[in-house]
């Protein structure tokens, strides 16, 4: 494999991995606080359509990304009101969020189907971006790629090194103890859920502004659910999330390349690969029940109602 081709493959992998990584990082924060929000797919779709619409109308990708973050956060807030304040079943509420997101994004996106938009620009660093191989692989990406990797380091630092990270984890591990010590469990969970929604929104923005700069109904194609699987795969740890996202990005790119090279297998079977890989990986990682139990936030998905 020539160096140029390898660089192209790594770049394509980054493109496919970034939306998964952004959404999964957000969900790690949400789940670490003990909230299971299964509505990632819906929040990503809303993020994608809002980013596309806002960028088209304003002409600025920054406005688009910011709007997508706000829209994702708003969807997550809706989830939080139902699941945290009104104590609705979190699984059902997450599904509702996805169903609503699919319908609402299609409705908002109707006027934008088939309109073109320039791709999110690559940042180039004079000198470094022109280096062979290292240039395109490390210094030839758009801002959101760097943001997603920085978010991984930021999350690790936050969870492991800060007092607030410790409090967040305490809320997810034992809401009763955290409440007894005097931490505002519900408020912290609101914060974590809304943060997860904002990142899911940005993940959606990446799809409609960079991965394929266009809007199409249901364009996430299950990536929100794959991001949820990634969180389990990564056992709620930031750096494993990074590794997982790039492995899944690799699978996606591999099947696209095989399709492109006229590989003698019907394209539908190749398109199945990312979904089958997710199932396979989930089965392999979940097999070790003890490890999953040790790593899962103990209060994940459980409602908390302070004693009156």
């Amino acid at each position: 494999m020539s160096v140029d081709l390898l660089a192209a493959v790594v770049t394509a992998m980054t493109l496919a991995a970034t939306p998964l990584l952004l959404a999964a990082i957000g969900e790690v924060v949400t789940e670490k606080a003990g909230v299971l929000n299964l509505g990632v797919e819906g929040m990503m779709l809303i993020g994608a359509v809002v980013a596309f619409a806002a960028t088209s109308l304003s002409g600025s990708a920054s406005v688009g990304i910011l709007s997508a973050a706000l829209a994702g956060a708003a969807m997550a807030l809706l989830f939080a009101v139902l699941a945290l304040t009104l104590l609705a079943n979190q699984v059902a509420t997450g599904l509702a969020l996805t169903i609503l997101g699919i319908g609402l994004s299609a409705l908002i996106g109707k006027p934008f189907v088939g309109t073109p938009l320039p791709r999110l620009p690559q940042l180039s660093i004079p000198g470094l971006s022109d280096l062979p191989f290292v240039g395109p692989v490390l210094f030839g990406h758009d801002a959101l790629v760097y943001f997603s990797v920085a978010a991984v380091f930021g999350l690790w630092w936050f969870l492991e090194k800060t007092r607030w990270g410790l409090i967040l984890r305490a809320v997810g591990e034992s809401h009763d103890s955290a409440h007894a010590i005097g931490y505002p469990v519900i408020a912290i969970r609101y914060g974590a859920t809304v943060f997860g929604g904002a990142l899911a929104g940005i993940a959606g923005a990446y799809l409609s502004l960079a991965y394929t700069p266009m809007w199409a109904e249901n364009m996430t194609a299950g990536r929100g659910w794959i991001a949820l699987a990634l969180v389990v795969f990564a056992t709620w740890r930031p750096f494993r999330t990074l590794a997982g996202a790039y492995i899944f990005g690799g699978v996606t790119i591999a099947q696209l390349h095989l399709q492109g090279h006229g590989f003698d297998v019907p394209s539908q079977f190749l398109s199945m690969l990312p979904y089958l890989a997710t199932v396979l990986v989930l089965a392999l990682i979940s097999r070790d029940a003890t490890r999953i139990r040790l790593n899962t936030p103990a209060c994940l998905g459980q409602p908390f109602k302070p004693a009156q």
Partner: protein, 358 residues
Amino acid sequence: MLRLEARREPSQAMVFGAPLIAVGLTLLAGSLLFGALGHDPVTALRVFFVEPISTANGLAELCLKATPLALCAIGLAIGFRAGVWNIGAEGQLVVGAIAGGGVALLFPQGGSAGLVGLAALAGAAGGLAWAAIPAWLRTRFNANEILTSLMLTYVAGLLLQYLVIGPWKDPMGFNFPQSRTFHRDTMLPILLEGSRLNLGAPIALLAILAGWLLLSRSLLGFQVRVVGLAPAAGVYAGFAPKSIVWFTLLLSGALAGLAGAFEVVGPIGQLLPSISPGYGFTAIIVAFLGRLHPIGILIASLLVALTYLGGEAGQILLRLPIAATGVFQGLLLFFLLACDFLIRYRIRIGGRHREAAP
């Protein structure tokens, strides 16, 4: 000022009242949405919810659309009661359609009117087999059935696309991605002359009755409910949690598969790249709206079927995007989940707390 107050007992009235309030709120939000889209809300609501069922044929179409919803929802509800979250009914429905349609394609010349029964059985078996995968992964590898059943839905959709573009494509079909049309012997008999209402609807009704008997009159149904409400108690009582996972997933898979077969040997009459407007997902809403109870599901399936008909009417008469249907369905589930709060809490307006008074 509004105040929330915990009820001592869950309100029975609200168990039935919450879905009605949710429907009311959905209609209200819907009219605001129509207003925002520049339509007269009253006209839009009439087009959406009244006109589709103002004729006999409209009512027949309503029952036709309610059939797959009810079949999927009854199976899902039994699983949800046991805490088994099969959300891949759409995939099981698609595989059922492939299996049922495959049988129909085997007999292009027909032969006997009983062949449709064979197609329906094949459909149920296909859905059952597809649901067996998440059941196996959950019981053997502890893998979350929500994610695996959903991933398999995408796989099923791609499999159907492959078949109608590849080996099962109609050779006389001008290269369109579709199968041959099925012979009359392999299709469900029409019940009402001049409509599309077929034998599937009464079979769905039977499934609802069977679901009710299972849940309220059988030991298995009792086990399902106990495992869902208190898993530890279920284990203590000697109920095998793994068997419940297998039973609920296979049952809901078989019913979804049957629904898929009924669609292709019913109103569609051939295999197409897409054979369902998301019935398997919408059935989740139907199951919750019907309170996970068979009778409730019967009513809910008719109501949600109306959103499909209304969406089609709105698209034709008002040029509304078809996505309006999805928005309605999503809002309905949201309001329902919110209103369920009223079962355990009441809203008091003004005044101080009773206990606080001297």
